[in-house]
Amino acid sequence: MKAAVRIQQEDFSQDEEISALKACSKRMGGIGTFLGCARDFSEGREVEQISFDAYGSMALSEMQKLRSDAIGKFALLDARIVHRIGTVSGGDNIVFIAAGAEHRVAALEACRWMIDELKQRVPIWKKEITPQGDAWVVPHP
């Protein structure tokens, strides 16, 4: 089985990640997921591609801590986080987060918390490649 927390160039399968999550416990009654995708339009201009840079070892370590923190904070049965790096195009998957809990509220709240925390804690940067030139993305609140 693939690791629960990964940074990878290649695309991921949401079905595989959810199956892996469900495999950990039959007590899981709710799964919350977040899929982040590349937009082909941003700040009033077309975006051809998005490229990522990351402090790979720290980013992976922070994502592993984030998963552990979420499991403790929301009493999750399991959680998974996958983030792509490299270059992606409009519509491509970027990040997938899944939280499994006994009930839906914890699963949904944990999922929301993990993506918000990931944006604050994990050293990954994205650059939009547009016909007008390239620009590093300024984070949104």
Binding site: D53, R121, P123
Partner: protein
């Protein structure tokens, strides 16, 4: 020596992704930041976070040790 790493927008402004800085006894993270900010002011305008050996470093007064890996980073934009 201290290994200093830069990523994304900071690396682009500096024009490189790594530097080696000679270690001095009693060198703090703030000392290192000040030294590099004087050399690369445009890059350090956007530096918001520092890490030492892969861990977030919020206390800039911490003493560095020879062989440390330090990163000065802009706001993250993953996800």
């Amino acid at each position: 020596m201290i290994s200093v790493l830069f990523f994304g927008p900071v690396a682009e402004r500096i024009g490189k992704s790594a530097l080696q800085v000679e270690f001095h006894h009693t060198m703090s993270l703030q000392n290192l930041r000040d030294k590099l900010a004087a050399q690369y002011p445009q890059a350090f305008e956007i530096v918001c976070f520092a890490a030492v050996n892969g861990e977030h470093a919020r206390d800039m007064t911490i003493a560095l040790t020879d062989g440390s890996e330090v990163a000065f980073m802009a706001k993250f934009s993953g996800g």
